[in-house]
């Protein structure tokens, strides 16, 4: 239920294409179902590779309501590559820390990884409507010619064959059909594409219901994650609080066993609890509710995300509990994994089997995310009396012994490595330092063209060879390869140099022992070499793309 509007939703008109016998004349390479954060990020990612997409969206504007609110460092790196992180960071609120309380006593201090090497904060908070709008703005600004969003157009069904799909669409001005080579389902938890194909999630659903209340409150409290277990304001309850831009605070709490979720969402049941809590933590200013909604934790994934010419991403493919913020963030990671692979397949650079690795890698990621999020959920919302009893023991002992505090760690999301992927190749490492093949690049400042920059900015739409060496690598040109020579000292011929002196040791390289990282377009290390020549690098690319 919405009480207060802080976001100016832009309404988009229905646009119907010219039809021939009820079918759009033009065949599309890619149709994306859903203009939520995942559909939009995928459209932007594909456009960056020069691939056009039509996006089908039933609504006339970006996602409405209380949705994702935390954007991880990994997502920020991806958004940086997509060219839209700056607008997001202008609005979002960065944070690094949090506190968990048992009753009125702090028992755990969350400190997310942050050091002088980082370009981005470990987390920023932003309401999802802003996120979606900023990605949409980037699309409209840079790729209006490549991304065709069909607002107010609902997918009612589709047929598919070995070459693509024919979509049945409905609009206020009547139905039409559209042909595409690839259909990507980014249509969320209740995916119409998934249900029409009769695909079922596997995994588990948690019993508990949470109430999510966004309130408008002017408070000077910093942006942090705060969690209260059994606070005096709401005994036997768990409350979470996060600051978002525009003086919006997200409060969520779990319903007690036996409470009716519909009744519990009524303002007369919600507002007294919120009021008691805000008063107890010392918020004296007036506040008003913005939105009340309910939520249940699910640990569910499809077993496979590619089904012929239909692929799944985001909540359409997997659902993870909110604790640890792996929902939208894992969907953004899906799109970054999928965009280059689908683009390469469409452009004829790779065989369609490359898309198997999208499914393998991202199903693996979903299972890892579910594993971590389940742990967080079991602590935040004990699924049995036994879990509750053990949590009470852990929390009450934590007030006097920090040894037990780590059990309250909310396990915030972190980038997932693809070490077991078929794509992941050789690791020639002289030392134990540096990311192994499959991992993302640890961040480090560099100087590039005389300007401050960061290592994660080097990967582009091609594979990237990052040569950490005191001499230029001699690699023959390849259409899918960019070579960046990063020298240990300032060198006018190099792309960049290790301006802090921290990069080479971090990556296990030295002037005497170079290290060469072949990096995928999504920023994951494909292979690592101690020595390179054209034949080795070209062979590694060929192995990845066949």
């Amino acid at each position: 239920m919405q009480y207060y509007e802080y976001f100016d939703y832009r309404r988009h008109p229905l646009q119907r294409p010219p039809l021939e016998g009820g079918v759009e004349g033009k065949r599309h390479a890619v149709a994306i179902c859903g203009a939520g954060p995942i559909g939009l990020a995928l459209a932007l990612g594909l456009a960056r590779h020069g691939i056009a997409a039509v996006v089908i969206e039933a609504d006339d504007t970006v996602t409405y309501g209380s949705r994702a609110s935390c954007i991880s460092r990994r997502s920020q790196e991806i958004l940086d590559q997509l060219g839209c992180v700056d607008t997001i960071l202008q609005k979002a609120l960065p944070w690094t820390a949090g506190t968990s309380y048992y009753r009125d006593t702090p028992v755990y201090r969350l400190q997310m990884p942050m050091d002088e090497n980082q370009k981005f904060y470990p987390m920023v908070n932003l309401e999802q409507c802003y996120f979606d709008q900023f990605v949409l703005d980037a699309i409209e600004k840079k790729y209006a010619d490549l991304v065709d969003i069909r607002w107010q157009t609902k997918l009612t069904g589709f047929s598919r064959d070995a070459h693509g799909a024919r979509l049945q669409l409905d609009t206020a001005e009547g139905p039409y059909q559209l042909d595409c080579d690839w259909l990507i389902a980014c249509d969320g938890a209740r995916s119409a594409v998934r249900s029409q194909m009769g695909l079922r999630f596997s995994g588990s659903r948690y019993e508990g219901t949470y109430i999510i209340v966004d309130v408008h409150l002017k408070s000077s409290y910093p942006t942090e994650r705060r969690a209260w277990f059994n606070p005096p304001s709401n005994p036997a309850s768990t409350i979470l609080m996060h600051r978002q831009p525009d003086d919006i605070w997200r409060v969520d709490y779990q319903l007690r066993d036996g409470e009716d979720p519909i009744e519990a969402q009524k303002p007369e049941n919600v507002l007294p609890r919120v009021r008691a809590h805000l008063e107890w933590i010392g918020e004296r200013d007036d506040w008003e509710p913005v939105l009340i909604s309910a939520y249940k934790a699910n640990c569910l994934t499809l077993d496979q995300y590619n089904h012929g010419r239909v692929l799944f991403a985001g909540d359409a493919a997997h659902l993870v509990p909110i604790f640890g913020v792996r929902g939208m963030n894992s969907g953004i990671d899906d799109t970054h994994n999928l965009a280059w692979k689908l683009a390469y397949v469409i452009q004829g650079h790779a065989q369609a089997s490359l898309l198997d690795t999208y499914s393998d890698e991202r199903v693996h990621a979903a299972r890892e995310n579910i594993r971590h999020a389940s742990k967080s959920t079991e602590f935040m919302a004990p699924p049995s009396h036994a879990f509750y009893l053990m949590r009470e023991a852990a929390l009450s002992l934590s007030t006097r012994d920090p040894f037990f505090s780590t059990l309250s760690n909310p396990r915030q999301t972190s980038a997932i490595s693809y070490e077991q992927s078929r794509l992941t190749q050789a690791c020639e490492a002289a030392s134990g330092f540096g990311p192994p093949p499959g991992a993302v690049l640890p961040e480090c400042p560099i100087e590039r063209d005389g300007l401050p920059a960061h290592l994660t900015e080097l990967p582009g739409t091609r594979f990237t060879l990052i040569a950490l060496s005191d001499s230029a690598p001699d690699i023959a040109a390849h259409p899918l390869l960019a070579v960046h020579w990063v020298s240990p000292t300032r060198n006018a011929r190099a792309s960049a140099w290790d301006v802090t002196g921290r990069l080479f040791p971090m990556y296990g390289a030295s002037a005497q022992a170079p290290a060469y990282y072949l990096v995928r377009p999504d920023g994951h290390v494909l292979a690592r070499f101690a020595a390179v020549d054209s034949a080795r690098i070209h062979a590694a690319l060929q192995a990845a793309l066949q």
Binding site: S384, H385, A386, F387, L389, M390, T399, F404, T406, L407
Partner: protein, 66 residues
């Protein structure tokens, strides 16, 4: 001393074991499980002073539940 990961692992195993016990034999039996676990850990610790200290610490701060 257990690492945080090791603590988490044994903590979670205890939670799951007690949950399974509660579901099959009834929640009352989880109390007996905890008492048995306490006795077994006393044997493992093998040091009366440390066990006495743990009993004192476990009792401290416990109060009437609201």
């Amino acid at each position: 001393m257990l690492t945080p990961e090791q603590l988490d692992e044994v903590y979670t195993r205890a939670c799951h074991t007690m949950t399974e016990l509660g579901e099959t034999l009834g929640e009352k039996q989880t109390e007996l499980f905890l008492a048995r676990l306490a006795l077994l850990l006393m044997k493992e610790v093998g040091d009366p002073a440390r066990i006495q200290h743990a009993i004192t610490t476990a009792r401290e701060g416990m109060q009437q539940q609201p």
